[in-house]
């Protein structure tokens, strides 16, 4: 029984590193450049895992444990999602709180690691990271609330699985709004344009990149991987909301899922190519807009 | 002899006006002395039955209100050696006018609020007007001593009122009342004396140190 979800999980973990590459490639293509190959991140990870590490003298064990926590939380969070729309490895009432909680724990560790170096740059990055997340969190909960109200289920496996497919006709508008909001959140949580620019080289404009400034070798690799998987998870949420995977046969669902992830990545790329990056103090408004979409969804269901 | 007490009561009213109108402390005291005498006469006039009660009451009243207190107050003035003029807050004519108003008012009230029936239709109105005049003096005079006089007048008014109940209130109590008033005035006099020493004036408007 748990074999299917397990396989899907491994699949998602496997394809996740390709997603950022895909997004970047799309962006390059649309802006008329060749850009790095889609599988670039795999190579980087492979290289980084081989590399030796440099630690700042200021740092404490927190700095070394953080990357592990980051990736561990993302992976465990993945077990709560019914990736293929049928079942999740682990599911209980209100597990969506655990899902967000785990992502939060990862962020907690990452931010502390940044502060551990005592560098003003990384302090700045950490500050921005928590600022962004402070506005992202309510939006995420509103999106999940839409699902709860639509399906009446309290567990992710329920609200993204068969019951969701059943209520689609009735709740379509709200669900679309929620999906849109989730997509915006995906941009924010995985630090893409317009919230952050992974391609920038000026520390003062960075959010995510500047936190990991001092990380090197395997630690850096884990953080990059974790970020990629996070994108995968949010993509999976979007796909799960929009596509009634639960109705598909068990062998087909994973394929559709991967395809959907690809679409999401391309979408990210398109957004990056046609949007400029927002000023730091405008970022909250972007996320408030996402919440607004979700709130509309909620209101549609409440009335 | 019902005419007599009516006459006495009218005299009481006149003494009230005297107290209001005169400009000298000593003469206000004389006025109260005479008022006391009138009050002493009233019980007998009202209750011709020569009972111990009325006699005693009359005697006691006369003793306290005509003899002792006025002489005591006069002594206080002499000791204090103060300027004898009264500086009222409001002019004499005004206070007289107010006194007249008080009399009118008390006759008016006599109709409005229910009052004990008494042998004389004048008794209650006069009592009330005397009470009002007492309060008037108390509130409008600046000299401590004249305030004592005002208090005395007030008490006189109440005494007149009490006469309507004279057979209801036992003799002993009447004496107790008299004694209390006597002691009260006595202590006030002493305080006035001290005030004069401490502030070298009887002007009670100077007593405004204690406030919030």
């Amino acid at each position: 029984m748990i074999l299917g979800p397990l396989l899907t999980l491994c699949l998602v973990l496997a394809v996740a590193p390709a997603l950022p590459g895909l997004a970047t490639r799309t962006r390059a293509f649309l802006t008329g450049r060749r850009g790095a190959p889609v599988l670039q991140l795999y190579r980087d990870l492979a290289k980084l895992f081989q590399k030796n590490v440099v630690y700042s003298r200021t740092t404490t064990p927190v700095f070394r444990i953080a990357p592990v926590v980051v990736i561990a939380t993302v992976v465990v969070a993945a077990t709560l999602l019914p990736l293929d729309g049928h079942a999740a490895l682990l599911s209980f009432r209100g597990d969506l709180v655990a899902f967000t909680g785990l992502l939060g724990l990862g962020r907690f560790a990452l931010v502390l690691a940044g502060l551990d170096t005592g560098s003003s740059f990384e302090g700045m990055g950490a500050s921005r990271e928590v600022t962004v997340s402070a506005f992202a969190e309510p939006a995420l909960f509103l999106c999940l609330t839409v699902l709860v109200l639509a399906t009446g289920e309290l567990s992710l496996a329920g609200m993204l699985g068969e019951p969701l497919a059943a209520v689609w006709p009735g709740a379509a508008p709200s669900l679309v709004l929620a999906a849109a909001a989730l997509f915006m959140l995906a941009l924010a949580e995985t630090s893409r344009v317009p919230v952050d620019d992974p391609a920038t080289h000026l520390e003062l404009t960075m959010i995510h990149e500047v936190i990991v400034l001092d990380h090197s070798g395997p630690e850096l690799a884990m953080i990059l991987l974790g970020n990629a998987v996070k994108l995968g998870l949010f993509g999976a949420l979007v796909v799960g909301v929009l596509v009634p995977l639960g109705r598909l046969p068990a062998w087909l669902a994973p394929v559709v899922l991967v395809a959907g992830l690809g679409v999401v990545a391309v979408g990210v790329g398109i957004v990056e190519s046609c949007m400029a990056r927002l000023r730091m103090n405008r970022v909250p408004q972007f996320l408030v807009a996402a919440s607004a979409l979700a709130v509309f969804g909620v209101i549609l269901l409440l009335r | 002899m019902s005419g007599l007490h009516e006459l006495l009561l009218l005299c009481v009213v006149l003494t009230n006006f005297w107290v209001l109108g005169t400009t000298r402390l000593s003469s206000t005291i004389r006025a109260t002395a005479i008022q006391g005498a009138l009050l002493a006469a009233l019980p007998i006039a009202l209750h011709p039955s020569w009972s111990i009660h009325t006699i005693g009451l009359a005697a006691g009243t006369f003793l306290v209100k005509t003899v002792i207190l006025p002489s005591f107050l006069a002594w206080a003035i002499r000791e204090a050696a103060v300027r004898r003029e009264i500086e009222p807050l409001i002019g004499f004519s005004t206070s007289l006018a107010l006194g007249a108003v008080a009399v009118a008012l008390s006759f008016g009230i006599a109709q409005r609020i229910p009052l004990p029936e008494s042998d004389s239709s004048l008794l209650i109105p006069v009592a009330l007007s005397t009470v009002m005049v007492g309060l008037l003096v108390l509130t409008t005079r600046n000299k401590a001593l004249s305030q004592v006089v005002g208090y005395l007048v007030l008490e006189n008014g109440i005494f007149v009122f009490g006469l309507s109940q004279v057979e209801r209130v036992p003799f002993l109590v009447e004496l107790g009342v008299l004694l209390d008033i006597f002691v009260g005035i006595f202590i006030m006099g002493i305080v006035v004396f001290h005030i004069n020493r401490a502030f070298d004036s009887l002007d009670s408007t100077r007593l405004t140190e204690l406030k919030d």
Binding site: - | L115, G184, A198
Partner: protein, 474 residues
């Protein structure tokens, strides 16, 4: 006729105290009289004696309650006075003791007299007996205080006499002005005359109680009189004055005029609370502060009286608690004044360090007098609030809660500063004489006990006392 000695003994003692020259002997007379008086009162609890029809002097529960309060408070104050006179310059010792004992006699007369005119005589006498004590310090301020005290109280009391005559006029049956007959023949009383009488008596005795807006003499007098005298006034004199109000209320309610009486009492109560609260904000002088607190508690007394239901029970309980608590706080403040020479919050500071015992007494006294559990006043205030809500006056209850809160801020901000703030010129720790702290400590213990539970005999007595005031069992 076991009541006469109660009056004559202190009267005689007061005369004696004036005659003797030796301070020691005078103190002995004072304390001895107080003790014997208390003993006699205690015997009355045993057997109140059978009421003699038509007797002017009789003992009833409410009267006995007030009598006991005065007696207890007087013994404590007397003991304190001995210590006080030792510390003060000897001047005035004679008049002082004489006045105290005279007050005891007069208060006893008030408590036991069932003839309302006689009650008036006693009331006036209490006023006069305490006047020389207010003037104890013989300076301008105390002179001003005693002048205002005398004149206002006398005018008030004069109005009460007028009211008494009105009452006599209203009566057409039984011995004149005799409480029993008034109540028994209440229905035969002339209603509108009775109303007039009630108003005059309420204003008259209300002035002596210090109900706002008739309270003006209180802060000045309490502020200038020696603390123990102020305490005796706030605990004893006001209780006597309240007895006057209670008597006439008994009669009026018995005559079926409750609907006329209660609004008056309620409005006096609320106004007193408001005025007390307003004047306590930013009040810098401890004794004036306590004076306003006394206004507040008088307000609560009449409030409970006016509420009906269990209100009167709360009132009589409050009477007891208030008397004892006032003793505590005034005597504690007295120690502060003795030590620092001032009762103003700016000059008296660091009391906890300098007078540890009195400091603690003052601190606990603050909480007791503001009705914090488990001190007695909380229980009576609880009962009064209970009556307010049960009788359908929730807004009065809420108003009382808010006003009590404001009052607490006013008191706490001053007292806590006096207790805790470090003094400008740190002084060594005084060793406090037992005479000065023993009494208040005992009173505080009693107040605490009353908050935890009301002993059965006292409860019965309170019930009986509240009966006449139109009470339902709480």
């Amino acid at each position: 006729m076991q009541l006469l000695p109660l009056i004559l003994l202190p009267a005689a003692a007061s005369g004696a105290a004036y005659l003797v020259r030796s301070v020691r002997l005078r103190s002995t007379i004072l304390i001895g009289t107080a003790a014997v008086h208390l003993g006699l009162v205690g015997r009355l609890w045993g057997d109140p004696g059978s009421p003699v029809p038509g007797a002017w002097l009789a003992i009833d529960p409410l009267g006995l309650l007030v009598l006991s309060l005065v007696s207890v408070l007087f013994l404590v104050t007397g003991v304190y006075a001995v210590g006080f006179l030792r510390r003060e310059p000897p001047r005035g010792g004679r008049v002082f003791v004489t006045g105290l004992l005279g007050f005891l006699a007069a208060a006893t007369l008030v408590a036991v007299s069932h003839h309302l005119a006689l009650l008036w005589v006693g009331m006036e006498t209490t006023t006069l007996a305490l006047a020389p004590l207010v003037y104890h310090r013989h300076d301008r301020r105390s002179l001003e205080a005693v002048w205002k005290y005398l004149l206002l109280s006398s005018v008030g009391i004069a109005l009460a006499l007028l009211g008494t005559f009105f009452l006599a006029a209203a009566q057409s049956w039984g011995h004149p002005l005799l409480l029993e007959d008034l109540i028994a023949g209440a229905t035969s009383l002339h209603p509108s005359l009775l109303r007039t009488a009630f108003i005059f008596l309420l204003v008259g005795y209300g002035t002596k109680m210090g109900l706002a807006p008739l309270h003006a003499w209180k802060p000045d007098t309490y502020g200038e009189a020696p603390s123990l005298v102020a305490g005796l006034m706030a605990g004893g004199l006001t209780s006597c004055a309240f007895l006057g109000v209670a008597r006439i209320t008994e009669v009026t309610i018995a005559a079926g005029l409750a609907s006329f009486v209660q609004p008056l009492l309620l409005s006096f109560g609320v106004v007193s609370l408001v005025v007390a609260a307003a004047f306590m904000i930013g009040q810098g002088d401890l004794k004036r502060l306590l004076a306003y607190s006394s206004v507040e508690h008088m307000g609560l007394l009449v409030l409970g009286l006016g509420l009906g239901g269990v209100g009167p029970y709360g009132t009589v309980l409050h009477l007891v608690n208030n008397a004892l608590t006032k003793g505590v706080v005034f005597l504690a403040v007295g120690n502060v004044v003795l030590a620092t020479g001032s009762a103003s919050a700016d000059e008296a500071k660091g009391i906890l360090r300098r007078l540890p015992v009195s400091g603690v007494l003052l601190l606990l006294g603050l909480f007791a007098v503001t009705g914090s559990p488990p001190f007695g006043l909380f229980l009576s205030e609880f009962t009064i609030l209970n009556a307010a809500i049960a009788q359908g006056h929730p807004w009065i209850a809420l108003a009382v809660v808010v006003l009590l809160a404001i009052i607490f801020v006013g008191m706490a901000s001053v007292v806590l500063e006096v207790v805790y703030a470090p003094a400008e010129h740190p002084a060594p720790v005084d060793r406090e004489s037992l005479l000065l702290v023993g009494g208040p400590a005992l009173l505080l213990a009693a107040v605490l006990m009353l908050g935890l539970y009301v002993p059965l005999p006292l409860h019965r007595m309170l019930m009986a006392a509240a009966q006449g005031l139109g009470v339902a069992a709480p």
